[in-house]
C-alpha cells in the first residue's frame, strides 16, 4: 500500500510502481477513506487498509512533519516492511521512531531513500525501473542517483541486478548498511554485492566487520565524499565529516582491511565487480 496515496508524489510513483508490476492493493490518505484512486481503494487508516487488503508492505510519501507518525502507524498495524521516501524528517522524531520499532517485527527502510527494487519482480520505490536489468548483483546504497549509476554500470559490464536497497542518507535510518548487506548475503539470487557509502557515521565500518566475519560473496565498495571538506554537510543530513576517524579515507581503509574490493573512482564500480567475479 501507499501512505500519502492521493498526493502528487504518491500518485505519480504509485502509477510507476503499478506499471512496473508491483502488486499495489490500495493506499491511505486520512479523510479520503471510501474513495477510489488509480482504481484502488483509499482508506483512512493503515489499520483499516491492512485488514481490508492484507497488505504487508507500505511505502510512504508523507510530508516530513507527519512522516514519523505515519511510520509508527504502519508498524502498529503490523506492516512487515515500511519504506519511507520522505526527506527532511527532524532527528528527534526519528529517535522516537527507532525506539518505537524496537521489539516489533516491522523493518523500516529509509527515510530519505529511493526504496527497494527486485529487478523484473517488484519495485517499492522511486527509482527508474528500466536501469535495473535482471541479474545477480545486489546493491546497498545511501543515495538515489548514485544507486542508479552503479546499477547502470553493473548492467553495462554484462551483469545485472538482483535486488537494490536504497537505505537512505539521514543520520538515523531503519536498516543500516550492515543489515542490508546481510540480507543480500542470505539471498540466493545474489552472487555479488555493491556497497556504496558516504562520509559521516560508522555504518560502513560496521558492515565491513560483518563482511569480514560472515561474508560469503564478493563485495565491491565505494565511499562518496573523499573530497568533502570537514564540518560541511553535503546535501544529505547524515553526510558530514566529524572527527579525524570519520573521513572517507578512514572508511575505505577499514573496508579494504575487511576484504572488500574498494574502488577510488565511482566510474570503476561496474567493471571491478565484473573482474572480481571472473577471478572467482
Amino acid at each position: 500500500m501507499v501512505q500519502g496515496f492521493t498526493g502528487t508524489e504518491g500518485t505519480f510513483h504509485a502509477t510507476q510502481m503499478i506499471e512496473y508490476g508491483t502488486c499495489l492493493v490500495g493506499g491511505v490518505t486520512p479523510g479520503k477513506g471510501g474513495t477510489m484512486h488509480l482504481d484502488r481503494p483509499v482508506f483512512n487508516t493503515v489499520d483499516q487498509a491492512a485488514r481490508a487488503t492484507g497488505a504487508d508492505v507500505s511505502i510512504l510519501f508523507v510530508p516530513p512533519a507527519f512522516a514519523a507518525d505515519a511510520i509508527m502507524e504502519a508498524a502498529d498495524a503490523g506492516i512487515r516492511l515500511v519504506v519511507c521516501i520522505t526527506e527532511g524528517i527532524p532527528v528527534q522524531d526519528m529517535v522516537l521512531v527507532q525506539q518505537y520499532l524496537k521489539g516489533k517485527a516491522t523493518r523500516l527502510v529509509g527515510p530519505n531513500c529511493p526504496g527497494v527494487i527486485s529487478a523484473d519482480l517488484c519495485k517499492v520505490g522511486i527509482m527508474p525501473g528500466f536501469v535495473f536489468r535482471k541479474g545477480h548483483i545486489g546493491i546497498v546504497s545511501k543515495s538515489g542517483t548514485l544507486t542508479y549509476e552503479a546499477a547502470d554500470q553493473v548492467v553495462k559490464a554484462g551483469l545485472g541486478i538482483s535486488t537494490a536497497i536504497g537505505i537512505g542518507g539521514d543520520p538515523i535510518i531503519g536498516t543500516p548498511t550492515r543489515e542490508a548487506v546481510a540480507l543480500l548475503m542470505e539471498d540466493p539470487e545474489t552472487r555479488g554485492i555493491v556497497m556504496i557509502g558516504e562520509i559521516g557515521g560508522n555504518m560502513e565500518a560496521d558492515a565491513a566487520a560483518y563482511v569480514k566475519k560472515e561474508g560469503n560473496k564478493p563485495v565491491v565498495g565505494f565511499i562518496a565524499g573523499q573530497t568533502a571538506p570537514p564540518g560541511r554537510r553535503m546535501g544529505h543530513a547524515g553526510a558530514i565529516v566529524g572527527g579525524a576517524e570519520d573521513t572517507a579515507a578512514a572508511k575505505m581503509a577499514i573496508m579494504r582491511a575487511s576484504g572488500i574490493h574498494v574502488v577510488d573512482s565511482p566510474a570503476d564500480i561496474g567493471k571491478t565487480m565484473a573482474s572480481v567475479l571472473r577471478e572467482r
Binding site: Q16, P64, A65, I89, P90, V91, Q92, D93, M94, V95, L96, Q98, Q99, I126, M127, P128, F130, V131, S141, K142, S143, G144, T145, L146, T147, Y148, E149, D152, Q153, K156, G169, P171, I172, I196, E198, I199, G201, N202, D206, F222, A224, G225, Q226, T227, A228, P229, R232, R233, M234, G235, H236, A237, A239, A244, A248, D264, S265, P266, A267, D268
Partner: protein, 403 residues
C-alpha cells in the same frame, strides 16, 4: 543552522539555564553603554568583550593585520571602546575560520566570571548531540574545560564521560547527579550542576537542537554554575516547529553564493577548486567531486540540482559557478531517472544561450532516460559543449580540460 553565542545564551535563559550575562553591541558606543548597564545589573567590575562569529578558537584568534584577540578583557569604559572598535568591522582569523577569516559585526559585552570568592573556580566541558550508532542523544562531559576537547579525547580519554538519554525522555535526576559527582562537585555546586544539566537537556530537546556545546562550563568562586560560552546548532529539518527561531539566521555568516543558490532550491557548498560541477542527487554529486579530483582537477562546487533539473535551475547553477574566476571547466552530470535527459539537455542549451559569453569548457554527461537523444541535441546545438554518456568518458574530458 548555527547560532551566535549571544543568541544561544538568550535561548538558554528561557529554560532557566544560568549563563554568563552579557549584552550584544554592534558599535563601540553601544558597547560602552552595554558595559555600564551590565555593571549596574550584575555588579561586574571588568567586562569580557567577545567577537560574535560562527567559529570557535576566538580567544586565540586575531583580527587580521592587528594583535587584537577575538576575546579580550576590558577594565574600564575606555578599554571597552577600544577593544570593541578593534573587533567590530575587523576580520577575525581563528583555527576554525581558515585563512580568510570571518567579519565581526557584533560583540558580546559579558560579565567577568573570574571574581574572587571562598572556593577555587573550575572549568568543565559539556556537549549534547546525537549518537548515531545508538540512535540516542548523548551528553559528553569532561573535567577538562576550556580546552580543545578532541585533544583531551586523544591524550586523556579517561577524563571524558558520556551519558545517554532514553529516547523521548527528560534527563533523569540520577543521571544529572552522576554527571555532577563525576565532575568532582560537592555541596552547593553539585546541586547547581544537577539543575543546570537537567535544564540544559530540556533546552536541547525543546528547541530541536542538533548540538549544544558549553566550553567552558564554569564553576564560580561562590559555587554557581554558568555557561560561559555556548555553541548551538539547530536541526534545520525541525525549524517548521520553531518559526520564531528561523529569524535568528545570520546570512552574513554564510557564503553569498550559497545563499543565492538556496533561493533556487539548489543544494550548494562552495569549495576551493577549479572544476565546477552540477549534479542531480547528493551522493552522485559527492562521487562526481571525487572523480574530478582523480582526473587531475579539484572540485570547485558541491551542487545538487535535485530531482527537477530544468532550464531555470541549470541557468542559476551556471551563473553561480561562473562567478568564481578560478573555475576552468564545468562538468554537468545528470543521471536521468524520472527526469528525462533530453529535457535537461534542452535546459543546458537554453541556459547557455541565455548567458551568452561562456569562455570555459562545458562537459555534459547525461545518462539514463533518453540519454542518446540528449547527446544528439547537444551535438547539433553548435555550442561549445562536450558531451559524454559514460562516467569514465566524462572523467577523461575533465582530465583534458584541466591539463
Amino acid at each position: 543552522m548555527n547560532l551566535h553565542e549571544y543568541q544561544a545564551k538568550a535561548l538558554l535563559k528561557r529554560f532557566q539555564v544560568p549563563v554568563q550575562e552579557g549584552i550584544p553591541a554592534d558599535n563601540s558606543e553601544a558597547a560602552v553603554d552595554a558595559f555600564k548597564k551590565l555593571r549596574m545589573e550584575t555588579g561586574t567590575k571588568w567586562a569580557v568583550i567577545k567577537a560574535q562569529i560562527h567559529a570557535g578558537g576566538r580567544g586565540k584568534g586575531r583580527i587580521a593585520g592587528t594583535e587584537q584577540r577575538g576575546v579580550a578583557i576590558a577594565k574600564n569604559a575606555e578599554e571597552v571602546k577600544t577593544i570593541a572598535g578593534n573587533l567590530i568591522g575587523g576580520t577575525l582569523v581563528t583555527v576554525q575560520t581558515g585563512v580568510s577569516g570571518k567579519k565581526v559585526n557584533k560583540v558580546l559585552v559579558a560579565q567577568d566570571v573570574y571574581y574572587p570568592g571562598p572556593s577555587p573556580v573550575k572549568e568543565f566541558y559539556l556537549s549534547i548531540l546525537l549518537d548515531r550508532s545508538r540512535g540516542q542523544h548523548v551528553l559528553i562531559y569532561s573535567t577538562e574545560g576550556g580546552m580543545d576537547i578532541e585533544e583531551v579525547a586523544s591524550h586523556n580519554p579517561e577524563r571524558i564521560f558520556r551519558e545517554w538519554v532514553y529516547p523521548g525522555s527528560a534527563l533523569k535526576p540520577f543521571q544529572a547527579r552522576k554527571i555532577a559527582f563525576n565532575l568532582g562537585l560537592q555541596g552547593e555546586a553539585n546541586r547547581h550542576m544537577v539543575k543546570f544539566v537537567i535544564s540544559l537537556y530540556d533546552a536541547y530537546s525543546s528547541l530541536d537542537c542538533a548540538l549544544i556545546e558549553i566550553n567552558p562550563l564554569f564553576k564560580t568562586a561562590d559555587d554557581r554554575i554558568l555557561a560561559v560560552d555556548c555553541k548551538m546548532r539547530l536541526d534545520d529539518n525541525a525549524l517548521f516547529r520553531h518559526p520564531d527561531l528561523a529569524d535568528l539566521r545570520d546570512i552574513t555568516e554564510e557564503d553569498p553564493a550559497e545563499v543565492e543558490a538556496g533561493k533556487y532550491n539548489l543544494n550548494f557548498v562552495k569549495l576551493d577548486g577549479n572544476v565546477g560541477c552540477m549534479v542531480n542527487g547528493a551522493g552522485l554529486a559527492m562521487a562526481t567531486m571525487d572523480m574530478i579530483k582523480l582526473s587531475g582537477g579539484e572540485p570547485a562546487t558541491f551542487l545538487d540540482v535535485g530531482g527537477t533539473a530544468n532550464a531555470q535551475t541549470v541557468e542559476a547553477g551556471f551563473r553561480i559557478i561562473l562567478k568564481d574566476p578560478k573555475v576552468k571547466a564545468i562538468l554537468i552530470n545528470i543521471f536521468g531517472g524520472i527526469v528525462r535527459c533530453d529535457r535537461v539537455a534542452q535546459g543546458v542549451i537554453d541556459a547557455y544561450r541565455s548567458i551568452g559569453d561562456i569562455r570555459i569548457p562545458i562537459i555534459v554527461r547525461l545518462q539514463g532516460t533518453n540519454a542518446e537523444a540528449a547527446k544528439e541535441l547537444i551535438e547539433k546545438s553548435g555550442l561549445k559543449v562536450q558531451s559524454a554518456i559514460l562516467l569514465s568518458e566524462a572523467a577523461a574530458l575533465v582530465n583534458q580540460a584541466v591539463a
